[in-house]
């Protein structure tokens, strides 16, 4: 079996960060905030967060904040709850949550909750359980969960539960591993996991493992490294991770590495990108691969960062 070429991935991520002006970077310009979260989290998991200039990044992040309190994908871009969470998560990585006007960010996120408990992503109003998770995760990190109606939020998420035990984006929406991660994560953070049929969902999730050892997101879809996170994370949160073949999954993730240029792709032999690099490394973290820091499944941040948020400074 191959091994994790961690240093190559670090070099890859740093090179992507530097490549601000090429065509692909410009295309992805609007989601730079998400890219920052994926890249910097991966660096931290590989123990190399200190290779970047945190002051530079923190100052850029704050320039992305809109007057509404939300954050855009880049400077001058419209705010969205997804970029807002990424901004908060990156600040947490650098232990710089104190630069935030907590009331302002909280106000923006809480304002996106609707009457039925669901959350929209921005002022356009599109509702999706992804945004429920994002809002809950964000407000929890800021220790302001009391700013939303948690009971209604949970009720809405539960209404998106399907017959197969999974969850979709809205009531009746097809069960999808990404949506399941969001719903399970949200229920975990709010102490509401008892709403889940863990045995039924656990089976649906472990059936995502295909012959190659990789995981897909729905029946009859191709495996993708990002599901190493969404599926495995969900299984861990419901205590059923032993229902998949972990060794085979590790092998699959390692096969998705570009061992020459660094970076991880969605499946073997495809082109690498920062998104899949993060989820591949995060998946290996969940699988306790040596040399990778532990990651918290619900908050998708390194465990030491989460401990620092909730339990204050400690010696780790």
């Amino acid at each position: 079996m191959g091994e994790l070429v961690g240093n190559k991935h670090v070099e890859y991520i740093l090179s992507v960060e530097r490549r601000k002006d090429d065509f692909l970077s410009v295309l992805m310009d609007h989601l730079r905030m998400n890219g920052a979260y994926w890249g910097l989290s991966a660096l931290d998991l590989l123990g190399k967060l200190d290779t970047v200039d945190s002051e530079d990044i923190v100052s850029w992040i704050m320039k992305c904040q809109h007057e509404s309190g939300g954050f855009g994908g880049n400077i001058g871009h419209d705010p969205h709850v997804h970029y807002t969470l990424s901004a908060v998560q990156v600040l947490a990585l650098f232990d710089k949550l104190d630069v935030l006007d907590i009331d302002k960010v909280t106000g923006y996120v809480a304002s996106l909750q609707k009457e039925d408990g669901s959350f929209s992503g921005d002022t356009w109003g599109e509702v999706d359980t992804r945004f429920s998770y994002i809002a809950i995760c964000c407000l929890s990190i800021l220790k302001r969960l009391d700013s939303m109606d948690v009971e209604k939020a949970v009720k809405y998420i539960v209404s998106c539960k399907n017959m197969d035990g999974g969850f979709g984006c809205t009531p009746g929406g097809e069960s999808h591993a990404g949506q399941i991660f969001c719903c399970v994560g949200a229920l975990a953070i709010t102490g509401s996991l008892h709403h889940i049929d863990k045995d039924l969902l656990g089976w649906w999730l472990c059936e995502r493992q295909v012959k190659s050892g990789g995981l897909n997101g729905r029946p009859e879809k191709l495996p993708d490294v990002c599901y190493s996170w969404w599926v495995l994370c969900s299984l861990i949160m419901i205590d059923r991770a032993h229902w998949i073949d972990k060794e085979k999954l590790i092998k699959f993730i390692l096969n998705c590495q570009d061992t020459e240029n660094g970076g991880i792709s969605d499946r073997p032999d495809d082109a690498a990108d920062v998104y899949h690099t993060f989820f591949g490394v995060a998946g290996l973290s969940l699988l306790e691969y040596p040399g990778v820091k532990a990651i918290d499944p619900a908050y998708a941040l390194p465990v030491n960062v989460v401990n620092r948020i909730f339990f204050g400074r400690c010696s780790t």
Partner: protein, 221 residues
């Protein structure tokens, strides 16, 4: 990839905003729009989400079940289309709901199972308490190919108190192998099923082993 996905979603959402302003007349146009996406990518998650929104907000349910059938004819493994079928039969104002549709839907799912017993979607679509399901399981077992979901369904049925006939018992027995040590020593049918499944589906061996630990004890009445 993720960047493309986000751009598509923003456009979809803008369409909703416009469609809402135009009212029910926009329904057929929006449904046609998602149809075009499905022509290229029949499982596009955001397009399905948009289509469900259109049906509920603007209407157009009349042809939806037929459309699902068409997509499943093109690809019976399309899990999104199976999900949409369930969505339609439970929410369409024209079909009478789950109770009215249950019978024909069981037939529909079993037809799909007979054609491709390895297809996960129709198995998850079934309502178990139906003799047609028992017969379908038996047919799959007898063919001795792709019988994983047939076995797991029988396991579920046993858990619900189902009493299999001799034919089913024999079919299960014939799938056991003497070298795995189950034959003769293990008369418990459900345990046999779990052993076979752990052998046939080794990636999920821990799951099938757990299932056997969850079986009702033989002594229970």
């Amino acid at each position: 990839m993720d960047g493309r996905r986000i751009v598509k979603v923003r456009r979809l959402h803008h369409r909703r905003w416009v469609a809402e302003k135009l009212g029910p007349d926009a329904a057929s146009r929006e449904l046609e729009f998602t149809r075009k996406i499905f022509f290229l990518d029949a499982k596009n998650y955001h397009a399905w989400s948009h289509r469900q929104w259109v049906l509920q907000a603007l209407g157009g349910w009349e042809d939806e079940l037929d459309y699902c059938a068409q997509l499943l004819e093109e690809d019976v493994f399309n899990n999104s289309a199976w999900n949409q079928r369930y969505f339609v039969i439970t929410k369409s104002p024209f079909l009478g709901g789950l109770k009215a549709m249950r019978d024909s839907e069981v037939d529909y799912a079993i037809e799909a199972i007979d054609a491709n017993p390895e297809n996960e979607s129709p198995w998850r679509y079934l309502w178990l308490n139906d003799s047609r399901v028992h017969s379908a399981c038996l047919r799959v077992l007898k063919a001795k190919r792709n019988f994983k979901f047939a076995l797991s369904t029988l396991l579920d049925l046993l858990g619900l108190g189902f009493k299999p006939n001799q034919e089913i018992k024999d079919a299960i027995t014939s799938l056991r192998t003497s070298d795995s040590g189950e034959a003769g020593s293990d008369s418990d049918l459900a345990n046999s099923i779990c052993s076979i499944l752990a052998r046939e589906d080794p990636m999920r061996a821990n799951y099938w082993t757990w299932r056997s630990s969850k079986l009702p004890q033989a002594a229970e009445v």
